[in-house]
Amino acid sequence: MKVLLVGNAGREHAIAEAFERSLRDVSLSCLGELINPGIQGICGKTGGQYLRGKINDPLVVADHAEKLGVDFVFVGPEEPNFHGVPDELERRGIACVGAKRAVAEIEMSKASMRDLQWENRLPGRLWYKKFKSFEEAVPYIKEYAESIALKPARQAGGKGVKVIEDFQVYLQDEKRDLKYSHAKTIVDEHMKPYQDMEYKLLIEERVWGPEYTLQCFTDGRCVKPMPAVQDNKHAFDGDLGPETGGMGSIAGGLNLRWGVKEEEASILTMEEYVKSTEIVEQMIKAVQRKTGERYHGVVAGQMMLTSVWGPTIIEMYSRFGDPEALNVLPLLKNDIVDICEAIIDERLNTVELDFNEKATVVKAASPEGYPDKRELARGHPVKVDEQGLTRDDIRLYWASVDVQDGMYVTGGSRVVEFLTVADDIPTASIKAERGFNHIHLTDGWKTFHRSDIGAPRCLGKRIELAKLAREIYMYKEKKGILGRRLTWIPGKGLMEAG
């Protein structure tokens, strides 16, 4: 069986590894923009090829797939979906696991995603406003001083989102100034490379609570959830520093449990886990109804347990999360080829997903300069002691790296991701720390990582936060006002947002 994998990040390395484990005699080829040594190794071992080329060009991808004569293509990242790679493959009669352009809209356009939620009155919808220009947003920002999230209206590689909590009126001038300035940055800078979108800026209500990613396989008929994963977006320990693509992630059981034992504390209850799956399923159904297209592939709800709704969608992914894929794929007991075939044939309902009951922690090493000064983070030669990692029972996933003159050099983003598996999250976290003894940049440039991911204190705080959010949303549920925002405006009366 021949498979072509598109993409070259840590996520695709984990996907490649799942294909390597398949008992279906897979020959895996990969098309990437940079050379990922991990995937390259797997391609070599399975008799496939590692090709370098433009993964966002549907013709390039389809040509390679045709030339290789693959049984199907698996698309890793989101941009090929946005550029219609799965659509072109379908046109040529090549099977594909990957969301087509129309349905990938739920990730590509954050504004369309919210529109869809509100048109269908789906649960977990946040209040929002979309703008076509900065000028259009100015009067709004001026008039309403409140806590908001400013987002590029398009998925922009995870960049550009900023939450500005505006609660303390004595600091409101400073916060309003930053709202203006960031709204302008989003329109002028973050959205600049993307001319494929009418709306530029999204302003959403700010919510709080623990975040989690619920990744699912879907054939458009049913949705099969994987264990919930919690990513850590801030660059530095204690959730400090700018937002990154993800510095590491944790998972335990299905519902982010401390450890494998049923009775241990968890971030989500099983009810919330089930509810989250239903919300993702409703999104899939809604986008299919709207576009008339089938969704074949991976979908993920980037969610938060909020006091407003309980399970709430922050954003959607039309693919696996990175690094979240690393927490679930290595635990997957099913043969990934079986799953892919079931998706292609739209009989995913016949597949029971099965995962090893373990806790996993992923931690990424990034060169200093990431995420905001990537020119500083790029081009440093990197050395990894793979034997040392194996000795310490740590799995290595290459992420943003390239091979130049036979040397591995940093690509500017997270360079490697380490995965550890244990019976509970804190144990896996400690284990993962040892990984950082086995990587260094040989020119002396420094790397950094998050030591607090999965550490007892950090995990405990997240569980506590979930409890508080739960108490409030359950109170609302009991009162029959879940998701509603009632306010009394003197002189106007009782008002409801949304």
């Binding site: 900023k162 500005i164 909590e165 303390q168 320990d237 400090l240 520093g241 200093e368 936060l465 508080l468």
Partner: protein
């Protein structure tokens, strides 16, 4: 004691001075004699002087403080403005520094007795910054040579912030979150509540003894002083009086300790009375839990005139009495004809307490039984909390019975040392109890 704040945001678009100002306001109880705020934009901008935060960092002055990083302090010391923190070192590397507590000695440095404390610190620091090494390493090396009980925050001209505590952890320091991606380092967590991110689970965390937090434009990480202390020595007086009750000190809620002290006082010093009254502000939680524990109702005994002055840390006797008399107008209706448990946090010289008891009796209190939420203060503080000379300390020279007579109370009892340690609920040898015992965590 001093209230320290440092704010580090990674997004250079923030204008930070108001955050610094309101952060200092939250720490105003740690010092009301002078204040200073410094920001880093294209250069250092500073504003400091004598008085309260709002008098020193006025709205128009705050506007002139440019930049996205800041450093500030409030302190109870009467000082000339040139000695007022933040202290600025120009060479060999430009940086600003705030310190709480006291550095009692510096290895390999000859203390110049002709210069003040501040000048000596800067001279010694200057020595460690010579050479090519990174500033952060130089700062670390300096504090590795310091003895004493202190907390510090340094801001360098190139935008690095280094904050930490001595290896014994005498003075408190916490780290909170601000503005989505930034950090607040402050003496107390109440500063994070005031200017930082408002999460239901406080994002503020304790900075451990000997721990150093470093922020640079490219990173934020934890490192440690290379020296180890055989024990921690958290200042116990922080829990009794210095810190705000909404703060966490060394991860312990100050309010929780104050309530425990009230319960202990009810156990140790029970008396048959009609009402319990706490001396505002500090002793209010003591009184609340004394009442809950004993079943004796609590009353509000005083109303204040003017600002919330912390009378006990005022530098002169006149100032302290002025503070007490304005702060403590007795509400007659609460005390008239009543037998009263009067609770205060501590007694230093006893004259302000005498004044309070007198005022209550004058308004018709039948009996006044004084209970103090800490043991007798008998010795000095080497770590910067201002305790008068030992011949002025009433608790060092008189027993409880005599003190009762001097202050005009019917009975007078301190909290026992054991009672205090149990209320803080940590092992005794992890605390500094020097002002109550005369025994200190390090050799003189």
């Amino acid at each position: 004691m001093t209230g320290l704040i440092g704010v580090y945001v990674f997004d250079e678009r923030w204008k930070i001075s108001s955050f610094g100002k309101y952060g200092l306001l939250a720490l105003q109880h740690r010092g009301q004699e002078n204040a200073g705020l410094l920001t880093l934009g294209d250069r250092f901008y500073e504003c400091k002087g004598k008085g309260w935060v709002e008098d020193v960092v006025t709205e128009s002055k705050a506007k002139d403080l440019r930049g996205h990083l800041c450093l500030g302090q409030v302190s109870p010391y009467e000082q000339e403005t040139e000695d007022t923190q933040p202290l600025v070192l120009k060479k060999p590397k430009e940086l600003a520094l705030v310190l709480d507590g006291r550095i009692t000695g510096i290895e390999d440095y000859m203390w110049d007795k002709t210069l003040g404390y501040e000048r000596n610190i800067l001279n010694a620091l200057e020595f460690h910054l010579q050479g090519e090494g990174e500033v952060v390493e130089g700062v670390k090396s300096f504090f590795a040579h310091c003895r004493g009980g202190y907390a510090f925050i340094v801001l360098t001209i190139d935008g690095a912030m280094v904050a930490g505590r001595d290896a014994m952890g005498v003075k408190p320091l916490s780290l909170g979150k601000i503005g989505f991606d930034g950090g607040i380092v402050a003496s107390e967590t109440c500063a994070t509540d005031t200017i930082g991110e408002r999460m239901p689970v406080s994002p503020a965390e304790n900075i451990a003894p000997g721990e150093i937090r470093v922020f640079t434009p490219l990173s934020a990480y934890t490192t440690h002083l290379p020296v180890r202390s055989p024990r921690t020595a958290h200042c116990s007086f922080e829990y009794v009086y210095l810190a705000r009750p909404d703060s966490y000190i060394n991860d312990t809620a100050v309010y929780k300790v104050r309530k425990a002290i009230g319960r202990k006082l009810a156990e140790e010093g029970a008396a048959d009375t009609d009402v319990v009254i706490g001396v505002p502000e500090t002793a209010i939680p003591f009184a609340l839990s004394y009442s809950a524990e004993s079943g004796i109702p609590v009353e509000r005994g005083f109303e204040q005139t003017g600002r919330r002055v912390r009378s006990a840390i005022k530098p002169t006797q006149l100032e302290r009495l002025k503070g007490v008399q304005l702060k403590l107008n007795v509400i007659s209706e609460a005390v008239k004809g009543k037998r009263i448990i009067l609770i205060d946090d501590s007694v230093v010289r006893g004259n302000t307490l005498a004044n309070i008891v007198y005022l209550m009796k004058e308004k018709g209190a039948k009996e006044v039984h004084v209970r103090i939420g800490s043991p007798a203060i008998v010795s000095h503080c080497p770590y910067g909390t201002e305790v008068p000379p030992e011949d002025e300390l009433i608790g060092r020279h008189l027993n409880e019975e005599k003190i009762a007579e001097v202050v005009g109370a019917d009975t007078f009892h301190y909290l026992t040392l054991e009672g205090l340690v149990e209320s803080i609920d940590v092992p005794r040898n992890s605390l500094c109890l020097g002002c109550f015992t005369g025994e200190y965590p390090e050799e003189a």
